[in-house]
Symmetry: C2
């Protein structure tokens, strides 16, 4: 942090820099921000982070498949894929720098290694290990706008490594942390909403959400910001603002540690995740380590699992159920069926066409009755709940995919999320009678015991 200056890191996503016109709109926002004074009257400095243009990354992946055709994609060298994919952001950063120069401002593009971004050797999903801000500070001191290629860093062996999808968000947050800056994520949405506006009429943009709420929403499939970036922002205490790259004046959402505006609210948003699959292993003998025997081979195959539910099925016998992306279900089912005999399962069941609808709110932590209110709303709506899982700040229900949208709308309405001001009934407009019912008892609810954070 340089005294007397206010620094903003602005990250533009791929659709925001998809062509010259869109790049010009981004550059205008950068220059407008730079021309404004900081909150304490400081001179504003802007650092830009960009993703690859439009579909560039997908195009490069398709190109790589033409040369690796016939070989097992699992064996494709991730190091080479990273050397290839990193070019997308590198090209975009040079083009945005040229755009800023055309508008009469000093700008310079930087690859990840030129910007001092060091990462580990986990090619394809590397983690940033260190930021050396010297090159950036030097440019900023000369009033040159640095335009950093996101999504990449320098691995210990001198290779270029990428941070995985959403890695440009992480780049921006890490740079902001190193510079003592605030971070803006500019993309094609106006911020974070109480629910998907295409799905829930009356969905409202939130002025603020907490890191934890955003983490839950991201894990549930919200595309607004990558969960790794949110985690890093929480760790580095970087305030992150999400806004529309070409209509930044239309409002935004800030992601912070505590959300004062949510005072009185138990639930701040509703997230629907479609195309959920479910695998259920029935009649397992509940001996020590049986869970590991199931989930280790699934993890080894690289299949991500969402929620895990374990319930009793008579004395010493359990049913082990987990949800996952429907597309991954056949692969996971194959693995489970292959080990069913060894682990002594009586049956394996696979379901698809499900949705998970989640109510998320940091205010849930200290408020009883939230789950009860939610269930009462669903009862009024006559929604059949297939499974329930919870975390400290989330209640998720698994429902038939066809019931997903009306379940989301029902919960949105029950917690009065369309209203700007938290109403007295904001614990749930249907319920409110559930005083004394904390989230804990949920673990005994008939639909199964819940386990989160898997």
């Amino acid at each position: 942090m340089v005294p007397g200056t206010f620094t903003v890191v602005q990250k533009f996503g791929g659709s925001s820099v998809a062509d010259a016109t869109k790049m010009a709109a981004c550059a205008k926002h950068v220059l407008k921000t730079k021309s404004q004074v900081g909150p304490k009257g400081e001179k504003t400095r802007v650092v830009v982070v960009v993703s690859a243009m439009g579909d560039t990354t997908d195009d490069l992946i398709a190109l790589s498949k033409t040369v690796t055709a016939g070989s097992d994609s699992v064996n494709t060298d991730t190091r080479e894929m990273d050397q290839l994919l990193a070019t997308g952001e590198q090209a975009a950063s040079a083009l945005v720098a040229l755009t800023l120069q055309r508008m009469g401002h000093k700008a310079r593009s930087l690859t990840g290694w030129q910007a001092g971004i060091f990462c580990d050797e986990c090619f394809g999903r590397a983690s940033i290990t260190k930021i050396d801000p010297n090159a950036l500070e030097e440019l900023l001191s000369q009033d040159i706008i640095p335009v950093i290629a996101g999504f990449q860093g320098l691995a210990p062996d001198g290779s270029v490594a990428t941070l995985g999808r959403g890695g440009s968000d992480t780049t921006a947050v890490a740079i902001a942390g190193a510079l003592g800056a605030t971070c803006e994520i500019l993309k094609d949405v106006h911020g974070v909403y109480t629910a998907d506006p295409r799905l829930v009429p009356g969905a409202r943009r939130l002025d603020a959400v907490t890191y934890d709420e955003m983490l839950e929403a991201a894990a549930l499939g919200s595309q607004v910001i990558h969960p790794r970036a949110v985690e890093l922002a929480k760790k580095l205490k970087v305030p992150v603002r999400v806004l529309h790259s070409h209509e930044p004046e239309k409002g935004s959402t800030v992601i912070v540690a505590e959300d004062p505006s949510a005072a009185g609210r138990a639930v701040t948003s509703v997230v629907l995740k479609k195309a959920v699959g479910r695998i259920s292993i029935r009649g397992l003998n509940n001996r020590a380590g049986v869970q590991s025997e199931v989930f280790s081979p699934i993890a080894a195959a690289g299949v991500p699992v969402d929620d895990i539910i374990q319930e009793d099925d008579g004395p010493g016998t359990i049913n082990l159920t987990f949800t996952l992306d429907q597309g991954d279900a056949p692969k996971a089912a194959g693995i489970v069926r292959a080990i069913a005999g060894t682990i002594g399962a009586q049956a394996v069941r696979i379901d698809g066409a499900l949705s998970t609808v989640s109510a998320v709110g940091a205010g849930m932590r200290n408020r009883p009755g939230v789950a009860a209110a939610l269930f009462e709303a669903l009862k009024h709506e006559q929604v059949v709940v297939e499974n329930i899982t919870t975390s400290e700040i989330r209640i998720s229900v698994v429902v038939a995919e066809a019931d997903g949208p009306r379940t989301a709308r029902c919960i949105h309405k029950a917690f009065d999320l369309a209203s700007e001001i938290a109403s007295s009934s904001s614990v749930g407009s249907v319920g409110g009678t559930g005083a004394g019912i904390s989230i804990e008892p949920l673990r005994e609810v008939k639909a199964g015991s819940a386990q989160s954070g898997v």
Copy 2:
């Protein structure tokens, strides 16, 4: 040079790596070379250098124009252009490494900076200043094929700089020099020809040419290999072989210091350059420095000049004539007309639709009568010669563009270039009577005094 090993640097041009199929053909050639023992029975090591795929560089330049539209292209930051253009070779190197891996071999792509290529800061046309071969030697010692992104290096300020068009040839030669290796330039031609086979029936592939002949041919517009690469090869004494990337078995041409196969030949090839323009400044007072007053502003505007001819126009008065690419002629003429008054020129004439036809041969150095034989052949063919310029190993005539092809064919025939074996009349099948007429007297030939190497 590692004892007991034989190292070959193979450079593949853009059309040779234009798609996955072509990359596979390149990879096969690499692996075949690697599997063969060296000339002294050594183990062969191969280093690959690649250009950007097909039209990638042109596409990136077109993309840059979309963002710089409206600004003067002269002011486009060459540093940013280089950061942008370098991505083309970077992507191609990763894809060729993946291709080699698919075929079961260890390979690793390297950007210029990863390969230890250092250059100066002349963005867009940087010169290689140093090669640190440690990274390459380390990979080779592990039997990993390095695949280097050509055309680029690391500038002193940490930026990526490009070496200009043809820079991948230079990369390959420089790497070969640093590794004590031989160099192969693989492209879409089968080697160097006595003339363009599309133009001159009977044109024949040469087994060998000298660095100097190749430099003259390249300066005259031959596209086979970039003159800077030839200069570097001459300086570093790197033998360079030119062959077809997908039909390497169909023969090749080696570029070396002395060509034993050309013994007895005065002329080894004929080169036609089309679309030549000419600007003539008439009636200049021949005071000291007048040439500088003409050519300094032209050079400052970045216009390359081919040949310069100065002739008397009466006592103390000269005509100054120069040829250049026809496309550059209007710009140069504008500059000359702007200074015509200041320098005291009586008239400025601009001509287009000309061609330069050149006879090139290192054997010309010590052989009299070559020019006379050439002129006699042109007399027989009834070609009107507009201007003449020469160098130590070249005679060029400027003719009307329509006369270019038949002039080339006439010279090709006169010097018996279609024949494998140098005939007794190889000094020129028409002439041979010119004993005692060396090249020097040409400077007094009516068409003008000649000056080369400008």
